[in-house]
Amino acid sequence: MTLDGVRQAGIFFAKRESANSMTASSLSHTHRRHRWRLTFQRYLGLTLNVFPPFIYLLLLFYAPMGMMFVISFWKSGYMTLEPAFTLENYKTFFTTPIYLKTLYNTFLIATGSMILLVVIGYPIAYYLARIRPKYTYLILFLLIIPVEINFLIRIFAWKIALGNNGVINSFLMQLGVIDEPLGFLLYSKTAVMIVLIHEWLPYVIIPIFLSLRGIPDSVIEAARDLGSSKYDIFRHVLLPLSVPGLFASMVLVYIPMLGEFAVPALVGGPSGYMLGNVIESQFLSAGNWGLGSAVGFILLFITLILVAVVIKVAGVEELL
């Protein structure tokens, strides 16, 4: 028997013995007191660990969320808010063409960016998974650094790059590639999507990379030995096995992109307006909190459905 086997057996017998002794009535008084003290300390420890964060989040996350939900049903107008149950706010949202157009825009931009992110990010994740770990971590590190730089500053940097007099346009004009600035680069859906892709690319690459790295080489070799072409290996082996990572990364970036408001506010212009901008203006300039809360809750509802789907598919444990 191997050493490990001996240890396993030892643990097994020790467990059985402790299970027996628990039920045995011949347990001495001091033993029982000792066991009781251990259990008590365990519960005390658990309670001390659970309650402070639980109470904090209950008060400063869940209560505000609940309040927002309640207020979305209140009668609300410019700077007024009365407690009364009404579906008026939701009705206003779903019957005003400009809001529906914004909802459509939001999904268009978020979905388009997500598809582009996956298409751009997958080959990079694949490359990272197939090179030596030393280089993998260097590149991952280089991908992560810019994420930590203030996000408004990075949006501002894109503004310098994309504007009519911006670096890209001036550069292309000096090269003689174009005669007049490419107007669609700034204050457009394109601009919002470029900045979103810049912002979220690392978050897409990492989960896909992790799931691709988990695929054993032997699986790929077996497929190759059995005569699969490179495309077949990708289509029938790598892609199906990387679906969990792909799925996780898609949800990870889709939720925050739906709720984006700083990017469209700075580089989106009127055509890049998103739901986040509607919510922000209802709260900070239009003063209609009921409507703002309702729009917020519609966004939240979509988010919760997405989270629920992921938990259903992947399980809470795997997400952590």
């Binding site: 505000p64 730089i149 007099n165 917020g296």
Partner: protein, 270 residues
Amino acid sequence: MKTLRTSKFWFAFYTYAVMAILIYMPIVILITFSFNDSTIMSLPWSGFTLKWYQKIAERPDLLKSLWNSLWVALIVTAVSLVLGVLAANAMARYRYKGRIFFTGFVSIPFVMPWLILGIALLVFFTKAGIQLSLFTVILAHISFDVPLVAVLVASRLHQFDPNLEAAARDLGCSPLEAFRLVTFPIIAPAIIAAGILAFNWSFDAFVITHFVIGHQITFPIWVWSALRFPKNLPIINAVSSIIVVVEMGLIFFAEWIRRRGGGEEDSILF
């Protein structure tokens, strides 16, 4: 074999090209133009200057915002670390009914759009009669940073062998001693890395802050309002460049700590 090598070359080329254009180009442009002697940020280059860096010192509002962000982030980090480590303990080191519920309870704020958290807290503070100020900003940031710390530290605790602590207890340590002498030194790198991330996040947080700050300013709020005035742009550029360099320094420090703790597999972000 040869075809394999060429395809590897193209993958490498693609990876570096995407990183250069989509991720690093704007940052390089930003830093380069902070030395440009013009308020208009376009080519051609108008000459080298350091005057935008000198002007930072002449803006008391900017300095005040940086100072505010700094101490807000310090308080947020301290409180979030305490609450986050407690939550991580409860998520990873105990087996009890409701553990999955608690894990979900703590993790949900982490996946919530910041905008939603911002407006919910704005509604809450106003209805509860709490004056919007840097204090409400601190409370709001902690709501997001606790889940951040908890998730990061819990992932380290999952790898931790509980027998080590049981051994310490057998040898006569009290629960607190066992934690201080055995568990803490092992999870310290994860805690420090989480602390640095929490600090960074709070220092940079714009979306939530935007809703709950009232009339005070933090650095991101200063940037947001300064962006509306073209004459400010070079100063934003200069101060951003300094912050980019400082933040990169912090990240390198966090990474160094993590590597010293032997965490080869898990990155500081995941």
